[in-house]
Each structure stands twice: as structure tokens, then as C-alpha cells.
């Protein structure tokens, strides 16, 4: 994979890689992609893709359910103001 491809991929993955990391990951990623290319040998014609094994599509009622652990959830927020989670300015 070219350096640029790795940079774009990292951006999409919301990861910031240092110069040193980029070098290391470049090698590791390349090694894995090389290994993945083995799949090309396999004849996949006529084979439908399997996304998941239980193959069910159960639905549930679109109804509200009471949730009583909001406090516990908010306790994990890095920075709170009243019941709002504080983040840097979007703009």
C-alpha cells in the first residue's frame, strides 16, 4: 500500500499516526494485505456472501422503555456542565 493510501485510511479511521508509527504500520499493513491476497485463488463464483450465522431478522416493538441508569452513564463523561457533555467548539 502506498504511503498516501495509508494516510487516507488513517484519516477515515480517525487515527493520527506519527512518522515512526506510519513507517511501522506501513510494513505491518502491507504484510497483512499480502497475506489477504491469497483469497484471490479461491473460486467464489456462485457463492453468496455470509454476513452472519443466525440469519434471523427479528424486530421489536417501537416503544419507549424506561431507562434508570442515566446518572451512571453521565458519571463516565469526561467533562459535564449541568447535564451537557462539554466538547471543544465545533466551528
Amino acid at each position: 500500500m502506498e504511503r498516501e493510501e495509508l494516510d487516507i485510511t488513517a484519516q477515515l479511521a480517525r487515527l493520527e499516526l506519527s512518522e515512526d508509527e506510519t513507517r511501522r504500520f506501513e510494513q505491518a499493513v502491507f504484510q497483512m494485505l499480502e497475506y489477504f491476497s491469497k483469497m484471490r485463488e479461491f473460486d467464489v463464483k456462485e457463492l453468496p456472501p455470509t454476513a452472519q450465522m443466525t440469519q434471523t431478522n427479528r424486530v421489536r416493538r417501537d416503544a419507549a422503555v424506561a431507562n434508570d441508569n442515566t446518572e451512571a452513564i453521565l458519571d463516565n463523561a469526561p467533562e459535564l456542565e449541568d447535564r451537557f457533555i462539554v466538547i471543544p467548539n465545533v466551528l
Binding site: 485510511t9 489477504f36 450465522m53
Partner: protein, 491 residues
């Protein structure tokens, strides 16, 4: 029966003050060497357990039994670090369904065990929060990613522990630590509360030294859960009863080099099975050649999606220092909080899902997955079980003396078939070679966990569960006063 004596002792451990303090002392001692737990807090566990069992009134065979939970499975009020710096202070606001069902039976969660970060790894070396040491040989890894759980059980700290198995992460550490590890049928145990790594591959599993324990825990946990849309009702398949002459498929392993110790153990296992009247039958599994590549494409792709939520915004360790905008906050929090192996898999997953590459990698892997499933289904039409090694080598040393990350991935070849096909599989201790445990595994058709248990039980006649040097059976003061003392045998 030896098993149930132990069980009633375990049930007393937390209740009887003398037993409890002796057990706590033992755990403290062992933990200095093994470091299986990231968080050990029986007091908290008792509180959590009391709240649940009081509500349900269901108390059963697991009443009072202490157990450990891999730290990627939620237990309310305990931390849920997933072995990651990014979540090192995160306290779970809820409890996984599988755990909740155990709590309703009266079991007590006493701590969270160490793991490879987010379940990614085969040695627990990828934990962002510390190392765990194999109780068989402290210079070696306990396996992964459920290394902490396996180590805790092997040393006798708890009678059972929960793990998660995405590509072998319950079975391989169980094998590395000389204990049993069950990976149930996909969908048979709710994944609600299991921090998702690869949603179509993983399932919560059990590690224990006693098969009765595995059976009881699995029975309690399994069953459809409205909170997990991929869970299904448990439909037990009839096992082969009576003479127990299971027909075992033995694949040709010529193309996969095995370490001498594993080869030796493999041969002993085959001999042992024959002596027990199992019927061995050669089978061919040509898709094994493509298994690992298809597995990693799917696992990494799903991981990249599942781990997108860890951004430092609503929870987790936020990057310190000035960040001008939320985008930068997210990038820095992830980059500083996530370990190398996790980043690698996220990058790979993101790449194979990029438009233009999907066909070549992700879709192709899914098609190969169909072929693998069909091949295993066809094999099971003529046999009851498949026997395979668990790992090409035994427990290896840490760091550069051990197995490099790439080789570790290739070594998932035996275990990831069960994840790709959703089939249940169980690793069992097969022999001890040069003082290290080697495990083998059985695979079965969907919902045939009981068959796995019976087969392992039978094999235990030729090779019972070994005890590692650091293992100590529970010392119970007053073991004669078991709860069943009313049933005196009169000759």
C-alpha cells in the same frame, strides 16, 4: 463425587469468614505472581450479586459461587476497561445479560480479568494495562485474549471465569493454561454487554477446571435475549448417548507445521480416543487454507466499525491539552488511548471496507465464509465431532522470545473455523509436554454443546485435568459440613 465437594466448598468461600480470609490471602499471594485480575473486589461483587438475586428469587446451583469476568464483559459498577488505556477509568453502568443470568442464580462476580486490548491478540501481551503470567511458567504467556480468566481458573483462584471467543480467545488461553474452555454456538449466549469487536464472530464463553461447572454455567447463561437481536432460542441437539462411541473426524494436518510438543500431544490424543472406543475417521477440510485470511478481513472490518465509538467524547480518556475542535479531540484521544495492535486492525478494517476495495477483500471473504460453513456442515453429516489442535505451539515466552504478532495471527487457523461457522467448540487439556499443558479441541454441530461435554468427560478418563504448580485446591475449614450432610450413605 469429587466435583460437587469442591462446589459446595466454593459456595461457602464467601459466606464463611475463616474460609473467606484464607481464600483472600491465597488470591493475594498468587496475584503477586500471576496478575490475572485488573480489578479484584469481592465486596463489590457481593453487593452486585445481592441486588440481582434478591430481585429474581431464582437461586440455583451456582449460589454463592465466586467467578471472574473478562474485562470486556459488562458487570454493573465494576470497571469495563477492555484492557485499554482509553477506558481505564470507565465504570460500567449496566450488566451483560449473560452475567445477569448468573447473578440471578446466586453466583458472585469477584473481579474483572486482564485481556488483550479489546480482545485483539493471542497472548494478553496486547493489554494496555499490564501483563498476565501463565501459572504453569511465569516466563510464559497465558494465551489470549482471555488470558486473565484462564490464568485465574488454572491457579484455582476461582472455579470458573467468563471469556469471549472471537477467533479462539477462550479456547486458546484455556489450552495454554491446562483447563477447559467452551466456545458456545453463535447466538446461543446473548452478546448484550459484551463490548463488540467482531459482531458476527464472537460469543461469550466459559473457562473452568470442572466440566460440571461448564455445563451449569452455560445452561444458566444461554437462551434468546430480546436485547440481542442476533441471539436465538437454544435448541439442544441430541447427543450420542449410551456407548459414547462418538465418530470423530480427524482432518489432515500435513500443510500446517506443528511444534514437536503439539505433534506429540496430538498423537497421544488420537491414541487416547481410540482406547476409549471413539471411532476416528479421516476428513478433508480444504477451505482451511483460506480460513485465516478470510477471518482477519471480516474481523478487522467489523472491528473498525465497532471501535469507531471510542472517541473520547462521551466517555473514555480524553486527550489532555488544548484541542481546537472535536475532530482533533477524537483523533488525539484515539491515537493516544489505543494500542498498536488495535490500531493495526482498525486500519486494515477501514481499508478493506473502502469503496473500491470491498469486492476484493470483504465481499470475497464473506463468500469464502459460505464455502467454509458448507464444508463443515457436509463433514458433520457423517460424523459427530471434529478433532483439531488448538494452536500450532504450546504456551510461548513473552515478547521477542515468543511469537511475533503476524505468526500469532497465522496460528489462529485451528480456532477461527468455529467462529467463522458459528459452531460450538471446546478445548480440553490433552497432555503435559515438558511441564507445559497442551490442549486439543472438539467441534460439534450447532447446539451440540452437551456432546462436547460428554466427549471431554470421556477423554478425562485417560487424561484428567492437570494441576499447574501454582494451583491449590480450595481449602475448606469444615468440609464435612456440606449443605447436603442430610444424605448420609449407610453402606
Amino acid at each position: 463425587m469429587h466435583g460437587s465437594e469442591q462446589l459446595s466448598s466454593w459456595a461457602q468461600t464467601l459466606l464463611d469468614p475463616t474460609q473467606r480470609s484464607s481464600w483472600l490471602e491465597f488470591v493475594r499471594e498468587r496475584e503477586d505472581q500471576i496478575r490475572a485480575f485488573l480489578q479484584f473486589d469481592p465486596e463489590l461483587g457481593l453487593e452486585v450479586a445481592a441486588a440481582s438475586s434478591a430481585e429474581s428469587g431464582k437461586i440455583g446451583s451456582l449460589r454463592g459461587i465466586p467467578f471472574a469476568v473478562k474485562d470486556n464483559i459488562a458487570v454493573g459498577n465494576f470497571k469495563l476497561t477492555c484492557g485499554s488505556k482509553l477506558l481505564k477509568d470507565f465504570v460500567s453502568p449496566y450488566t451483560a445479560t449473560a452475567v445477569q443470568r448468573l447473578l440471578e442464580q446466586g453466583a458472585v462476580p469477584v473481579g474483572k480479568t486482564n485481556l488483550d486490548e479489546f480482545g485483539m491478540g493471542s497472548s494478553t501481551e496486547n493489554s494496555g494495562l499490564g501483563l498476565t503470567y501463565n501459572p504453569w511458567d511465569l516466563a510464559r504467556v497465558p494465551g489470549g485474549s482471555s488470558g486473565g480468566s484462564a490464568a485465574a481458573v488454572a491457579a484455582g483462584l476461582v472455579p470458573f471465569a467468563l471469556g469471549s471467543d472471537t477467533g479462539g480467545s477462550v479456547r486458546q488461553p484455556a489450552a495454554f493454561c491446562g483447563v477447559y474452555g467452551l466456545k458456545p454456538t453463535y447466538g446461543s449466549v446473548s452478546r448484550f454487554g459484551l463490548v463488540a469487536y467482531a459482531s458476527s464472530l464472537e460469543v461469550i464463553g466459559v473457562i473452568a477446571r470442572e466440566l460440571t461447572m461448564i455445563r451449569d454455567v452455560f445452561s444458566a447463561m444461554r437462551g434468546q435475549d430480546p436485547r440481542d437481536q442476533s441471539s436465538v432460542p437454544y435448541a439442544e441437539v441430541e447427543s450420542v448417548k449410551g456407548d459414547g462411541r462418538f465418530v470423530v473426524g480427524v482432518p489432515d494436518l500435513a500443510s500446517i507445521p506443528l511444534q514437536e510438543e503439539v505433534q506429540s500431544s496430538w498423537e497421544k490424543t488420537l491414541d487416547g480416543l481410540e482406547s476409549l472406543d471413539f471411532v476416528l475417521k479421516k476428513i478433508e477440510l480444504p477451505t482451511l487454507d483460506y480460513l485465516v485470511s478470510a477471518y482477519y478481513v471480516i474481523a478487522c472490518a467489523e472491528a473498525s466499525a465497532n471501535l469507531a465509538r471510542f472517541d473520547g467524547i462521551r466517555y473514555g480518556t480524553r486527550s489532555a491539552g488544548f484541542t481546537g475542535n472535536p475532530e482533533q479531540l477524537v483523533r488525539l484521544s484515539r491515537s493516544r488511548g489505543l494500542g498498536d495492535e488495535v490500531k493495526l486492525r482498525i486500519l486494515l478494517g477501514t481499508y478493506v471496507l473502502r469503496s473500491g476495495f470491498q469486492d476484493r477483500y470483504y465481499l470475497r471473504a464473506q463468500r469464502i465464509r459460505t464455502a467454509i460453513r458448507r464444508e463443515f456442515d457436509a463433514a458433520f453429516s457423517a460424523i459427530d465431532l471434529i478433532l483439531m489442535p488448538v494452536y500450532p505451539c504450546g504456551p510461548f515466552k513473552r515478547g521477542s522470545e515468543g511469537l511475533d504478532p503476524f505468526s500469532q495471527k497465522l496460528s489462529d487457523i485451528f480456532t477461527c473455523s468455529a467462529n467463522m461457522t458459528g459452531l460450538p467448540a471446546m478445548s480440553f487439556p490433552a497432555s503435559v509436554e515438558n511441564d507445559l499443558p497442551i490442549g486439543m479441541q472438539f467441534l460439534a454441530p450447532p447446539f451440540a454443546e452437551e456432546r462436547l461435554l460428554q466427549a471431554c468427560d470421556r477423554f478425562a478418563r485417560v487424561f484428567p485435568v492437570p494441576a499447574c504448580p501454582l494451583y491449590r485446591p480450595l481449602q475448606s475449614a469444615g468440609a464435612n459440613q456440606s449443605e447436603d450432610s442430610g444424605a448420609h450413605s449407610s453402606g
